[in-house]
């Protein structure tokens, strides 16, 4: 037992069991959400018939569910590894899962019972103007669900921040600011998992409280329509919360790369001044990059839009570069014996890196004004979420399942996921470059080829994920002590 575990083991809940519960939830919900996504692509391809009203409900549930499950999966990766270095509360970690499940039930009820179809971004004043498609109660259940989930994540990040402060004295030290600016030797810097968890805590605490403010204002508006507030301010607040939350899922999941690859290569992940500087810069930029979601809003001050464009070009690069370079140097001539877990984690870095390229293109104002409402956008975010973040989470899941679980199927799962996922995102990107609009339930005949290619890719990706997730669920029969 390490000193940290001695400090943090007051809870009677087994930490590994809690991580397993997270991953089981993530796996099951991920599959359901992938099936909702496949349903939309099949409907656009005109291979199945889905009523447009239902399509938008499915789109809303798919968006909210995927963002939530990315957050939950990232949190599982982060918490599992960061507790090796700082004392954290297992009870709070489990409380977050409970809050998530309550919130998810509210959101699913809002969609499939209440008919809420205002997209996961719940842009004010749309929730209160349903045109008769959903009731105020349906929209309120959706927003209450987001609030409940936010409470859980807020507690989790605050608890991790508390643990980091108790060991390092402050979040600045946890991020490696001293090392980044040469105030302290590099060797005394925090481990990569701590730097990443600090960044996630800083960004998400701010993002979540901003989200809570706009959610409460929107809830008041639902039941008292005479109470109104500035729509552009609301959009700014929503994207501040939404962008930060989804972006941070990647920064939490990347801890899997820092911790799992070295196990395979038998080489420690080297940190240096550039590494810490990258994390400091990325923290600042994640907190200021959101205006790139508002490049089409003519009423936004031009200076903020220009800043949003420049920061969106730079935002992901520092950490991505040090992570991609670090992963390559860690793996190069290490004699690494590839398996599904190592492959998925490595794939995650590649998916993240490749996904940045179409994102940077869309973050450029002249391109954005043409491309933002096309399928280019789902193309770019699916690239770094499906092939990046989710690949890292599935890699972590496969790593935890260990070799005792049926391993001969795992490589097939990885290849299906990779080939299917790549086909799926390329179909989106190609459709976007041909100006096929996004968020349309019904497509023109000229667009069907893209939709059908995307549907085939999505089917393969679902099959791959199914193999990997079932393999993990089977591994839950093994005793907890066998978990790495």
């Amino acid at each position: 037992m390490t000193g940290i575990e001695a400090v943090g083991s007051r809870s009677r809940i087994n930490a590994t069991a809690a991580v397993r519960a997270y991953l089981a939830t993530c796996g099951i919900v991920l599959l359901l959400m992938m099936l909702l996504g496949l349903t939309m692509r099949l409907a656009q391809a005109q291979w199945i018939d889905v009523e447009p009203n239902l399509f938008y409900v499915v789109m809303t549930m798919h968006g909210a569910g995927m963002v939530g499950i990315a957050g939950l999966g990232g949190a599982a990766v982060m918490w599992h590894f960061v507790r090796r270095y700082v004392p954290v509360s297992t009870a709070i970690f489990v409380a977050n899962l409970v809050f998530f499940l309550i919130g998810a039930a509210l959101i699913l009820g809002a969609g499939f019972i209440g008919g809420f179809a205002g997209a996961w971004t719940f842009l004010y004043p749309l929730p209160g103007h349903s045109g008769g498609l959903w009731s105020a109660n349906g929209a309120a259940a959706y927003m209450a669900g987001l609030l409940v989930i936010g409470v859980g994540f807020l507690l989790l990040h605050l608890d991790i921040a508390r643990g980091i402060i108790s060991i390092y004295g402050g979040l600045g030290a946890g991020l490696g600011v001293k090392q980044a600016f040469g105030f302290a030797p590099e060797k005394d810097g925090p481990p990569p998992a701590v730097a990443a968890a600090t960044m996630a805590a800083i960004s998400n605490v701010i993002g979540i409280v901003v989200g809570a403010v706009v959610l409460i204002l929107s809830l008041v508006n639902l039941y008292a329509p005479s109470f109104t507030f500035n729509t552009l301010a609301a959009k700014n607040l929503i994207y501040y919360f939404g962008h930060t939350f989804i972006n941070v899922t990647i920064y939490m999941a990347v801890i899997a790369v820092y911790e799992i690859l070295p196990v395979y290569t038998h080489r420690a992940w080297k940190t240096n001044r550039v590494f810490y500087l990258a994390w400091v810069l990325s923290t600042l930029m994640v907190l200021t990059v959101y205006p790139h979601h508002l490049l089409m809003d003519f009423a936004m001050p031009t200076s903020i839009l220009v800043a949003g464009q420049i920061i969106s070009w730079l935002s992901g690069l520092p950490v991505l570069l040090v992570t991609a370079f670090g992963a390559l140097t860690n793996v190069y001539r290490s004699g690494l014996k590839w398996d599904a877990a190592a492959g998925l984690v490595f794939m995650g870095v590649a998916g993240w890196a490749i996904g940045i390229i179409p994102a940077v293109a869309d973050g450029t104002i002249p391109v954005n004004s043409v491309m933002h409402n096309t399928q280019w956008v789902p193309g770019h975010f699916h690239t770094y979420l499906l092939l990046g973040m989710m690949a890292m989470m599935l890699g972590f899941m496969t790593y935890l399942a260990g070799p005792k679980s049926p391993s001969h199927l795992a490589p097939a799962g990885v290849w299906l996921y990779l080939i299917g996922g790549t086909t799926f995102v390329l179909a989106f990107l190609a459709a976007g470059s041909a100006s096929v609009p996004r968020r349309y339930a019904v497509h023109l005949p000229a667009w069907l080829a893209y939709d059908r290619a995307g549907s085939i890719g999505a089917s393969l990706a679902v099959a791959g994920a199914l193999i990997l997730i079932v393999r993990f669920l089977v591994s839950l029969r093994s005793p907890i002590d066998a978990t790495p």
Partner: protein, 203 residues
């Protein structure tokens, strides 16, 4: 100590005497008088804590009941209608002078130390942005929320609340980022090394 104790009734009394000028402006009423009344109760709690019965301390589990009372009491006096009534009805104003120190400040002072650090952080993280949001609403509201205050006084109150939120948010961020002692100071580095040594010894 006795001099410090005497501060409580003196401060209470001075606030009562100064109520007319403080209630004349909405910003002063909300951002100065109400917090100072809570502060009087908080000071009172520091003197009463040694005499606190054991059963009382044990029943205030993690400080949650006490802080819930604080939330309800402060929310009640944030209602524009209650501000109006405090101006028009002297007995309501008296109730405010009694209830804010006794039902908000006193439980805040006694329950806050019992609340774990995580709970305190959660309350700060919720309180600061909500304060800013309320300020924003006062600033943006096209109609008067209180019958006794003009629209420009309401806007000034909004600016004051936003300013308080910014100051609190900045202070809180700096404290958690820099730490105590600051991470760049020799004491901060010594503390970090000491913790590392404890952890390594435990492995």
């Amino acid at each position: 100590m006795n001099t410090t104790r005497a501060l409580v009734p003196v401060a209470w009394g001075m606030l009562w005497i100064a109520r007319a000028p403080l209630e004349h402006e909405m910003a002063l009423h909300m951002a100065v008088q109400l917090p100072l009344l809570i502060g009087v109760g908080y000071m009172l709690a520091t003197f009463l804590r040694p005499y606190e019965p054991r059963w009382f301390a044990e029943s205030d589990w993690l400080g949650i009941p006490g802080l819930l009372l604080v939330v309800f009491a402060t929310s009640f006096w944030m209602l524009p209608r209650m501000l109006d009534l405090a101006l028009s009805e002297p007995w309501i104003d008296s109730a405010k002078f009694a209830s804010l120190p006794l039902l908000a400040g006193l439980p805040l002072g006694s329950s806050w130390p019992r609340m774990p650090g995580l709970g305190r952080a959660f309350l700060w993280a919720n309180f600061i942005p909500k304060l800013g949001a309320i300020g924003g609403l006062y600033l943006a509201a096209p109609t008067r929320l209180c019958a006794y205050y003009r629209l420009d006084q309401q806007a000034a109150a909004g600016i004051a609340l936003i300013a308080v939120a910014i100051v609190l948010g900045t202070c809180w961020s700096v404290i958690v980022f820099v730490g105590s002692p600051p991470f760049w100071s020799r004491a901060g580095i010594r503390r970090q090394r000491a913790r590392h040594e404890i952890l390594e010894a435990g492995e």
